[in-house]
């Protein structure tokens, strides 16, 4: 009868035209849902739709003409795929694309420059890339891909590795591909969880100050979304995920921004809320005997830039401590909500875990297939199951 539902996609394995079709179609669909933000070049959007359409047509052609001579192995008269060679070809082509992207498109040597979102997906418009890292990384990684690809073109895998890693079995390719997905998902989930938003904010402020503009102008340029992501109440690691009940007053949905506070001691040195190995100049002591660095004698003041409290300065220790303690400069109505940051983290972490399980699943199926099928593990001949 029919296949159980969890095996239905196996039908593409013995029909290579169909296998190619589903991969191209997937590419077509991914390309068509790529949606640049409002500030994009229409050409970028159009190019992706065109690419998607071509992929769609190519997919159909391959489905119709499934029986191609290139797939046929003359030695056995049946279809086969040389998987290590396919890997090498894709590695080489990826290397060329990566190198070309870095050397030409990003730098603007041949291309429109670069259209990217900033690292946090906040502005998503065309902007010049003055970060040397992006171009040089792609040039270096692309060069490595080309050289390694050429190496694998000329050298066949050792028999020990071919047998040990089941390189003739396409399911191992699936398992490894899944690794790439969950790795990327974990990286972005971790970034959103721990966040580099404060670092990004300070980098942007420093960059503007380096151009001899004032602090107010620097803080004007910080996008509200970035400040919101930095807001400690949204940090999943600080209980910001699925908050229930009020933990303290004044935390919840943000309705405004009071501004960025800069804390200074009486010598006009700028102080920062403690986040690592810095010299402690002021703190909130727990005992009167330890009050050398207490806020009042040190004379800490808080002055706000941008936001609703722009220009306002506080020297009353109670108020200064309140703002230092919470970094909570977003006004709120005391109601708890989730945030974009929470959902992003939750979603990507969940899928990363699922894909990690999937990697183990398909890897185990491949490596232990002969045992599952009841074949004698001492059997020495090169036997391959599900060879495609």
């Amino acid at each position: 009868m029919g296949l159980p539902w969890y095996r239905v996609h196996t039908i593409v394995l013995n029909d290579l035209g169909c296998l190619l079709f589903v991969h191209i179609m997937h590419t077509a669909l991914v390309a068509v849902i790529f949606y640049p933000s409002d500030h994009s070049y229409e050409g970028v959007a159009g190019a992706h739709i065109l690419f998607s359409g071509l992929c769609f047509l190519a997919a159909i052609w391959h489905w119709v003409y499934w029986d191609l001579e290139i797939f046929c192995d003359n030695r056995i008269g049946k279809p086969s795929l040389d998987l290590p060679k396919i890997f090498e070809i894709h590695l080489f082509l990826s290397g060329v694309a990566c190198f070309g992207f870095g050397a030409f498109h990003v730098i603007g040597l041949y291309g429109l420059g670069i259209w990217v979102s900033d690292p946090y997906g906040l502005t998503g418009k065309v902007q010049p890339v003055n970060l040397v890292g992006i171009a040089s990384h792609h040039i270096a990684a692309g060069t490595l891909g080309i050289l390694v690809g050429l190496f694998h073109l000329s050298v066949r895998p050792p028999q020990r590795l071919y047998k040990g890693l089941r390189k003739g079995n396409i399911e191992i390719v699936l398992s490894i591909s899944i690794v790439v997905i969950f790795f990327a998902a974990f990286v972005v989930a971790e970034t959103m969880w721990c966040g580099y938003f404060q670092q990004e904010i300070y980098q942007r402020v420093s960059a503007v100050l380096a151009e001899n503009q004032s602090l107010l102008e620097a803080w004007c340029k910080i996008p509200e979304k970035l400040a919101f992501y930095d807001y400690i109440g949204n940090d999943p690691a600080k209980g910001g995920l699925f908050k229930m009940g009020s933990m303290d007053n004044g935390d919840g949905i943000a309705v405004g921004w009071l501004g960025h506070p800069i804390f200074r001691d009486k010598d006009e040195r700028e102080l920062f809320v403690h986040q690592g190995d810095k010299i402690v100049r002021a703190d909130t002591p727990s005992k009167r005997a330890e009050s050398n660095y207490s806020v009042k004698p040190v004379g800490v003041t808080a002055e706000f830039y941008y936001g609703e409290l722009n220009g306002v300065s506080y020297s009353d220790p109670a108020i200064v401590k309140k703002y230092a303690r919470h970094r909570a400069t977003l006004k709120s109505d005391g109601v708890f909500r989730n945030s974009l940051r929470d959902w992003f983290t939750f979603g990507h972490a969940s899928f990363a875990l699922l894909f990690f399980f999937g990697h183990i699943w398909h890897g185990a199926r491949t490596l232990f297939k002969d045992i599952f099928a009841g074949i004698d593990p001492n059997l020495d001949a090169q036997v391959e199951f599900g060879a495609f």
Partner: protein
């Protein structure tokens, strides 16, 4: 289930294409391997070097490795 087989076929074989003829050489070595361990040691060295490279750039970014002229702020 009654099946009927038809003897003989007018098909001469799988379809040949221009692109397929160009690329046939790339899909002709299925199962070909180098004997024994081959270049396994070479890839082992490459993996180790890459791991060291990643550790270096991670620790530079993390300020666990401090280099003159590179400041992380």
């Amino acid at each position: 289930m009654a099946t009927q087989t038809v003897e003989g076929s007018s098909r001469s074989g799988p379809r040949r294409t221009v692109v397929g003829d160009f690329l046939k050489q790339l899909n002709s070595e299925h199962g070909k391997v180098a004997p024994g361990w081959g270049t396994t040691h070479l890839i082992g060295v490459a993996i180790a070097l890459f791991a060291i490279f990643l550790s270096i750039i991670l620790e530079i970014y993390n300020s666990s490795v401090l280099l003159d002229g590179i400041s992380m702020n």
